[in-house]
């Protein structure tokens, strides 16, 4: 079958995609062999398909995949923000809470006692009978030389009551007393163990 240039052009796509029957294929090839113009058209069309089918032709912008992923993450219902975003939010909340706590403690906590004489009573039996002078700030055990009559009338009360009223232990008499008491307890414990 003899065919002309026009028929070749109309069938070029089908020919390149192997969608022509064998007899038409043979006719096209025979025509092209003797026709420079159709050879050029055929080669050029084949080149077009090859060039545009190459992945290198289109280059995606840098960061495109990352931006797409982030947009998708932001869009998902119930997932407004990425895990990284949540982490930042939790960290910020923690920082805020800590700052608030620090500010509160600084504002409301009593000023730190500066000397041992101003320390609140610790480790003192609450039932221990102690003495306080009317205008003094300390409580003592009986016989302490640091009880001053000029501070007003001396009252007796339990250590627990004295602490509750804001008195602090006298480090001279009560320190010595507590130290002796601790030693006594320690000795008794060893005695029990040695028996």
């Amino acid at each position: 079958m003899v065919i002309g240039c026009e028929q070749v052009w109309q069938e070029i796509s089908n020919y390149l995609e192997n969608e022509v029957d064998p007899s038409l294929r043979a006719s096209i090839e025979e025509h092209v062999r003797g026709c420079k113009r159709c050879t050029a058209v055929l080669d050029g069309t084949r080149n077009i398909i090859q060039l545009y089918g190459d992945d290198r032709l289109f280059q995606v912008p840098m960061g495109y995949g990352w931006r797409l992923r982030r947009r998708l993450a932001d869009y998902m219902p119930g997932r407004r923000g990425t895990a990284y975003g949540w982490l930042i939010a939790v960290a910020a909340l923690g920082l805020f809470t800590a700052t608030l706590g620090l500010a509160r403690s600084a504002a409301s906590a009593p000023p730190t006692a500066r000397s041992e004489h101003a320390q609140p009573g610790k480790g003192i039996p609450s039932g221990l009978t102690v003495l306080v002078a009317g205008h003094g700030k300390l409580f003592h055990i009986a016989g302490c030389t640091f009880i001053h009559e000029k501070d007003g009338p001396v009252r007796s009360m339990t250590a627990g009551e004295a602490i509750k009223e804001g008195y602090t232990p006298c480090t001279r008499c009560l320190g010595e007393y507590l130290s002796r008491l601790a030693n006594l307890v320690r000795k008794q414990a060893w005695a029990v163990l040695l028996l």
Partner: protein, 222 residues
Amino acid sequence: MAMLEGASSVDRLAPKVDAHEETLIRRIQNGEQELFYELVKPHERRVYTAAFAILRNPADAEEVAQEAVLKAFTHLKQFRAEARFSTWLIQIAVNEARMRLRKDHSEVMEPIGERQDDEGTYTPREFADWRELPSEALERSEIRQLLLEALASLKSKYREVFILRDIHHLSIEEVAATLEISRASVKTRLLRARLMLRDFLAPRMASGWFGREPFQKGNKPW
């Protein structure tokens, strides 16, 4: 939504999705939405290039690609497992890009291919022989640019068919279903797109003539 309904006709013609993709889709449809990016990732480049080939602007293409992916995420429940996910996704991207183009009225270039419509016969121009196609041609940015210019200069009805068939390698049937045109129209437009691109590029790409003016009639090398 016409675009998503249109996908169903593609689905009937397309080969089945691969097993991994099918499993992913099922899991996402059952609530594991965080897997969606894993499903989309292998196709994200194609979504962008489909949008870019139509819009010819990187920023618009990226925005449209993102919109297409979000739309696919929203409507994944409408996607049926017998379809190729990539075809469905590209179809959404193409439709989004077309809508953007209509909205922006951005057909700014005078397209080639005006001289004949679908009904007439396309006559290829008589240009230099273009046999050589160096494998490293696409490494050259000026050649890539030239190819994109040539593509951009096609009328949209030719460009869309060419993009889907020769760039994204959809079947003739898939292209027909995606663009909602007949199989015969796809073949006619595809042939013309190829010949018009060849007419545009051959004189520029022919060995030794890159960058020069195309041959004029009566000034042929043979």
